[in-house]
């Protein structure tokens, strides 16, 4: 089984540790994951803002990079949704039947991390250790576009030491929405504040989700409020073990306090 890692552009430039967590986690589970260096971005920012023509070369680049893999694993529900549900639209728009065929080949093999772990590898207990009180935000695209259901929370519940607490209003959108976050910043932030309030109400010290894009938004609000709550990608939690706890800060306190000059 050849498995390619689709890191996503946000993780590549802003959250490389999440990518390293995926690599560490999958290797621990016996999967030799590869990173095709030709990959870039799935094109979702362009598609969801209406720039379909601009997304065509990006989708072409995507199918070229991942043509040879049985599975393309990605730590993002949103980018999985983009590949599985939107690439076809972009390919049809291009008028290139070759691209349409390539997308038909590659798109169904793109899987989100929790889908890959539970459905493909058939594991729920990944041997992680994370002794913290955690709440989970189901990101909209993983919840409604992919339908990952309870896979992420089953994975979290199996983590040793982890206490999963309920997030009020969990299924309501955090307000990120890609370029929505800047094109309609006021509404986006109004939604985000309510999400942040629910995270605080949950009593958790760590907010976990399957998309670093949504966490960039919620985490940015929580950080600005000096809330003392840490946000972490699901992969970072699942990669944590007693042995390498130091690398993900798993045993330390939540580190959102301000470091004064």
């Amino acid at each position: 089984m050849r498995v390619g890692l689709m890191i996503t552009c946000i993780n590549d430039a802003l959250f490389p540790d999440t990518g390293r967590s995926v690599v560490r986690l999958l290797r621990r589970l016996g999967v030799d994951v590869e990173f095709p260096p030709g990959q870039t971005c799935c094109g979702q920012p362009m598609v969801n803002t209406g720039y379909f023509d601009e997304a065509v070369p990006m989708v072409r680049n995507f199918v070229d990079a991942f043509a040879d893999y049985d599975y393309v694993v990605t730590p993002s529900g949103s980018c999985t949704g983009s590949a599985r549900h939107q690439h076809e639209l972009v390919a049809r728009r291009s008028g290139d039947p070759g691209l349409v065929r390539a997308v038909e080949e590659v798109a169904p093999r793109v899987v989100e991390l929790s889908e890959f772990l539970v459905d493909v590898l058939g594991v729920v207990d990944v041997g992680a250790y994370f002794p913290h009180q955690v709440t989970y935000h189901p990101t909209c695209h993983s919840l409604r576009m992919l339908g990952v259901g309870d896979r992420p929370t089953r994975l979290l519940e199996a983590v040793q030491g982890l206490r999963l607490v309920e997030l009020p209003g969990a299924e309501q959108c955090c307000g990120f929405g890609g370029t929505f976050a800047v094109k309609n910043a006021d509404t986006s932030v109004a939604m985000g504040f309510d999400k942040a309030r629910h995270v605080l109400d949950s009593g958790a010290e760590v907010l976990v989700a399957g998309d670093n894009s949504c966490l960039l938004h919620i985490g940015g609000l929580l950080s600005r409020q000096r809330s003392g709550i840490r946000v972490m990608h699901l992969a970072d939690v699942l990669a944590s073990t007693e042995k390498d706890a130091g690398q993900t800060g798993a045993t330390g306190p939540a580190k959102t306090e301000e470091k004064l000059p």
């Binding site: 590549d12 290797r27 990006m58 909209c140 409604r144 910043a185 006021d186 509404t187 470091k259 000059p261």
Partner: protein
């Protein structure tokens, strides 16, 4: 009445103003939360809900594919039963037809059944310009009309008001247009309803003409259907001599058997009830029983334009239940006025551009972007309108409408980003530059950190950076991208 949606700013600006209204935010969160829970519990009771949704969507799609035949069948069935059928291309034609009927009977007032089609065409304002008063009789529409306000919800147009605000509106305005509210009016819902009942009764008994819309029009028998909660519609449909119904051409369903599907879908989706209290059906004229002159105005007003849109035409399945509004996190916070139309919320964000066309005005073009694409609307829609997909399609149409000419900064940024991001080499190069900036920023004295990471406060450069960072911290770029790490460590074998 002077309130109007004309001249409303684009959604981001209108939303910004609406978000500042603390009372409205509170009212909306409470009201949408209550309806959401009611809907969820009655939908969960129906085992074959998904089957009903599929059936509803299939019936509507089939009808829309054969719309010409269905409309002609409806017309001849209506005529056979003594109704007069009018065809209206647009709002002006429809308003003209209604006004002419009122003039023919020398009337200066009509009573109205709650109707989205007549709101859409601005009938009340058009009739007022002709010296004809149109009295809204639905309780919520009455509140909006008396308050010189605008509707903010399809089903509950006064959802942005609470009961103490309604008491004030009744006390100040009822007396100006008819029977005043009692002096000792409280803000108890039963008291408010009683005041409205007395005020309206006078108008029902006096009215010679009523104007309605229709939730459905059954082609096989020429039957119009109005579904309501209060019974005020029933009063309008039965008491006056003349009845005029303005019906969007997408309201036609072929048979009564088809109607049965929607009578299950609609009440549960809209009010969260198993069955609505009043369902009125009528076909043409029945001698000596009810209105003796019945008119039906079949309204296009952009519907054929929407029908021509391959992706967007599914919006014509809409049965105006407003489930999508009640589950929408954007609507819950901004309310309906920010959408600048009688059709607010997710359905309004697609229906308005589809009916009016994109690339014409900034307000309409802003609507497809008034969504985080969370998908809650699609999940709730009883006729399975894939609103997120239509929103994305319409965004593409908005962008395409502005291609050619001087590109906007956003278009320049998107083209630049797409050029970089369509090549691994170019992406790696730009990431090296970002990582260099990340290392520099990390070394600068002062500032704040989240964990190990330096975070930036407000970025004082106008544009998306400020829009993001005014309220949200953003981490500086990582010192080394994942790609660079992988290449440096040859696949990260040491990890």
């Amino acid at each position: 009445m002077t309130a109007t949606f004309v001249g409303m700013p684009a959604f981001p600006e209108a939303a910004r103003r609406a978000l500042e209204n603390a009372q409205q935010r509170h009212n909306l969160a409470h009201a949408t939360g209550t309806i959401r829970e009611k809907r969820a519990s009655v939908v969960a009771e129906v085992d074959e809900w998904e089957g009903l949704r599929l059936a509803g969507a299939a019936i509507k799609d089939h009808t829309l594919r054969h719309l010409d035949d269905q409309l002609l069948a409806l017309e001849s069935a209506l005529q056979e039963r003594g109704a007069t059928v009018h065809w209206a291309r647009d709002a002006d034609e429809a308003c003209r037809i209604v006004a002419d009927i009122a003039h023919a009977h020398d009337l200066d007032e009509v009573v109205k059944v709650k109707s989205m089609a007549t709101q859409e065409i601005g009938l009340n304002e058009a009739l007022a310009a002709e010296g004809i008063a149109a009295w809204e009789t639905d309780l919520a529409e009455l509140i909006v009309q008396l308050g010189d306000d605008l509707p903010s919800h399809i089903l509950v147009p006064a959802i942005h008001r609470n009961r103490s605000e309604i008491r004030e509106i009744f006390r100040t305005s009822m007396g100006e247009v008819g029977r005043p509210a009692p002096d000792a009016l409280s803000d108890d819902p039963a008291d408010l309803a009683a005041a409205a009942r007395l005020h309206l009764r006078e108008k029902f008994l006096r009215a010679k003409m009523a104007v309605s819309g229709a939730n459905f029009a059954v082609a096989e028998t020429g039957t119009l259907v109005v579904v309501e909660s209060e019974g005020n519609g029933r009063m309008c449909l039965t008491l006056p001599e003349v009845l005029v119904s303005v019906v969007g051409i997408e309201k036609v369903v072929p048979t009564w058997q088809d109607l049965e599907v929607f009578m299950q879908l609609l009440p549960r989706s809209s009010t969260g009830e198993r069955m609505n209290p009043y369902t009125s059906t009528w076909a043409g004229v029945v001698p000596d029983d009810g209105p003796q002159e019945v008119h039906v105005v079949l309204l296009d007003n952009g519907r054929t334009r929407a029908l021509a849109d391959e992706v967007g035409r599914q919006a014509l399945r809409c049965i105006r239940c407003s489930a999508c509004l009640n589950v929408c996190p954007v609507y819950e916070r901004t309310g309906g006025h920010a959408y600048g139309s009688v059709y607010p919320g997710p359905i309004g964000a697609i229906l308005n551009p589809l009916l009016r066309g994109v690339g014409v005005d900034e307000q309409t073009d802003s609507l497809p972007y008034a969504s985080s694409l969370c998908g809650a609307c699609f999940e709730a829609c009883p006729v399975r309108i894939d609103i997120p997909s239509v929103l994305v399609e319409l965004r593409g149409q908005v962008v395409d409408a502005h291609r050619g000419g001087l590109p906007k900064p956003e278009a320049v940024a998107m083209r630049g980003a797409a050029w970089v991001l369509s090549s691994g080499t170019r992406t790696a190069r730009s990431e090296r530059a970002a990582a260099f900036a990340g290392r520099l920023l990390d070394k600068m004295p002062g500032g704040r950190r989240q964990g190990e990471r330096r975070v930036l406060g407000t970025i004082p450069v106008p544009g998306p950076g400020t829009a993001w960072s005014q309220t949200r911290d953003v981490p500086v770029p990582a010192k080394e991208s994942f790609r660079a790490w992988w290449s440096r460590t040859d696949g990260g074998d040491e990890a």
